[in-house]
């Protein structure tokens, strides 16, 4: 009891400092990897994977760091994608404005859906997010501007700031890389902010957080809106990159896919969703020859993860290092 307290925290073996160093190494590897990767494989595949990686990271912010399972994240991804595609094609907006508009759309949808869902817990929360997403799927199916079954095709990539031609693959790749990294670092910052500390407390024990005087619903709602916005950023970027917005992006299997990616990579780990997104997309890409069977294989992976590798790829590796 009569220890000199301050020594205990300033000591070099502070666990959070160790973790931060580990994160930095992974960051470096990831960035270098993404810079050299286009020399070895299809840039279009990598760009698509980065969009989905950002989507999964956004989803993980909710499930992994607040403990909220949204089963309707396709809503934000898909609707942002539509609005962005329409803004670029129908209104001829520059890509950065179109992406911004898509992201804002997702933020507003997130605010509405979040306000309705946030008061419920567990399965009820998941059901409300799913129900709202399905409602908006039908709107997308019926609305004129979405192009119904055809979606919005041949979206022009346009000129970034009216200057840089994004039909150039290198330019497009750099834009997607920058957006992905910006989103990724924003999430990292959110998690490691004073706000993020409160989120962690809410995930760990919400009644206790309330009893300490935190108005937890506000924190959850803000986290929800941030997550929806980042999912929207991913969806918008995808629309510009792949030049298409379609029903696939807004339908419930997309909501399921992002759960799968996050789970396979490692729920509640910073890098897990990135790894998960790349693994799942790579698999779909390689296995496209077997057609529908890819769904069965995904199902098997999902079950295997839940039963054997609860922590996901990144989570299991991190656990190995801790030993």
């Amino acid at each position: 009891m009569d220890t000199t307290p301050s020594l205990a925290v300033t000591g070099s073996r502070q666990p959070s400092a160790l973790r931060r160093n580990g994160d930095m190494i992974f960051f470096a590897i990831m960035i270098v990897g993404l810079i050299v990767a286009p020399f070895f494989t299809y840039p279009l595949f990598l760009m698509q994977a980065m969009c989905f990686a950002l989507f999964a990271c956004a989803f993980n912010l909710l499930i992994g760091y607040v403990g909220l399972l949204s089963f309707g994240h396709a809503l934000y991804f898909g609707w942002a994608s539509y609005v962005c595609a329409y803004a670029a094609k129908g209104w001829g907006l520059t890509p950065e404005l179109a992406i911004l508009l898509g992201t804002l759309t997702a933020a507003v949808l997130g605010l509405v859906a979040g306000s309705l869902a946030i008061r419920r817990q567990g399965i009820y929360f998941a059901m409300i997010t799913l129900a709202l997403a399905q409602m908006m799927y039908f709107v997308a199916l019926r609305a004129k501007f979405t192009g119904g079954e055809d979606g919005i095709q041949a979206v022009p990539r346009g000129y970034l700031f009216g200057l840089i031609d994004l039909r150039n693959t290198t330019a497009m790749y750099i834009v997607v890389l920058v957006i992905f990294l910006a989103g990724f670092f924003l999430i990292y910052r959110i998690i490691h902010s004073p706000f993020g500390e409160v989120l962690k407390a809410i995930r760990e024990n919400e009644p206790r957080a309330i009893s300490l005087g935190y108005r937890t619903e506000r924190y959850k709602l803000i986290a929800f809106v941030l997550s929806a916005s980042l999912a929207g950023l991913a969806g918008s970027t995808k629309a510009i990159t792949l030049q298409i917005a379609s029903l696939t992006d807004v339908n419930w299997p997309m909501s399921g896919e992002v759960v799968l990616m996050t789970l396979v990579g490692g729920l509640g780990t910073i890098f897990g969703p990135v790894v998960g997104a790349f693994v799942i997309l790579f698999m779909q890409f390689k296995l496209s020859v077997v057609g529908e069977w890819v769904l069965v294989i995904q199902g098997v992976i999902f079950v295997t993860c839940v039963l054997l590798f609860r922590r996901g790829i990144v989570g299991e590796i991190a656990a190995l290092f801790k030993r």
């Binding site: 004073p194 706000f195 993020g196 760990e204 300490l212 005087g213 506000r218």
Partner: protein
């Protein structure tokens, strides 16, 4: 009566019914500022329900709650905590996968910053609370566990951590739900001592089954059975009350 500055917490006809069954039925509590007030009674008497009502984790079916002269009957639980009425839980309530330091610091963070909606800032701004956190941790004898995750602590230490976290808020009034439950002798003595020390400049309302702790610490005791107040007074008064002896202490005091 409600204006009495001596009284920090007053309830009038506090009632909570679950499907017609009154878990708490018309309780009038009067807690004097600066005292240790014990709430005792057999299992299922409604003590925890009372705490849930006072801290607004449950909405009363009827009745009024007045804290520091302010009617808090319709307040949100987080706002009650902000007014300085802070509770602990019967089942130890820590943040399991946060370290001891982080557990205490999250409370200090609330006290010092109010809300923390700044998601764009690095959490290193919270480091300025480390020193005070470590003092609080030392106060409850947890200095050797600063970087342990709360989940790894033995039960008694978890309770100690919970109290340190609660104290970090510097609440005017503390509600402790069975602070010594499940503890060994040494831990009980330590916690009892701690409660006595923290009560020096605040009010404590506690639910406690350990009667020697109650006898030792409390200025006033309220006995609850089946949701109603059976007796009230100091330990001597209450333990000599015939109803209490029959209903609560029963054969043990024959």
């Amino acid at each position: 009566m409600l204006m009495d500055a001596e009284l920090i917490l007053v309830t009038e006809g506090l009632t909570k019914e679950f499907a017609g069954f009154a878990a708490v039925g018309g309780v009038d509590l009067r807690v004097r500022r600066g005292t240790i007030h014990a709430l005792i009674g057999p299992n299922g008497a409604g003590k925890t329900t009372c705490f849930n009502l006072l801290t607004k984790f449950l909405q009363p079916t009827s009745g009024r709650i007045v804290f520091k002269g302010e009617d808090i009957t319709d307040k949100e639980p987080a706002d009650v905590a902000r007014l300085g009425l802070v509770r602990s839980f019967q089942i130890s309530a820590v943040f399991p996968h946060m370290t001891v330091l982080e557990n205490v610091r999250i409370a200090l963070q609330r006290l010092k910053r109010g809300s923390s909606l700044d998601f764009w800032r690095s959490k290193s701004v919270l480091d300025e609370y480390n020193e005070r956190s470590l003092e609080l941790i030392a106060d409850v004898g947890l200095s050797d566990y600063v970087h342990w995750n709360a989940v790894e602590l033995p039960y008694g230490r978890k309770r100690a951590l919970e109290i340190a976290t609660t104290l970090a808020l510097e609440p005017e009034m503390l509600l402790l739900d069975e602070p010594t439950a499940g503890m060994g002798h040494e831990d009980i003595a330590r916690i009892a001592d701690l409660i006595r020390r923290v009560a020096a400049n605040r009010t404590v309302l506690m639910v406690e089954h350990n009667l020697s702790v109650v006898a030792d610490l409390s200025d006033t005791i309220t006995v609850l059975t089946r949701g109603r107040v059976l007796a009230e007074g100091d330990y001597a008064t209450v333990s000599n009350n015939a109803d209490v002896r029959e209903a609560y202490m029963g054969t043990g005091h024959a």
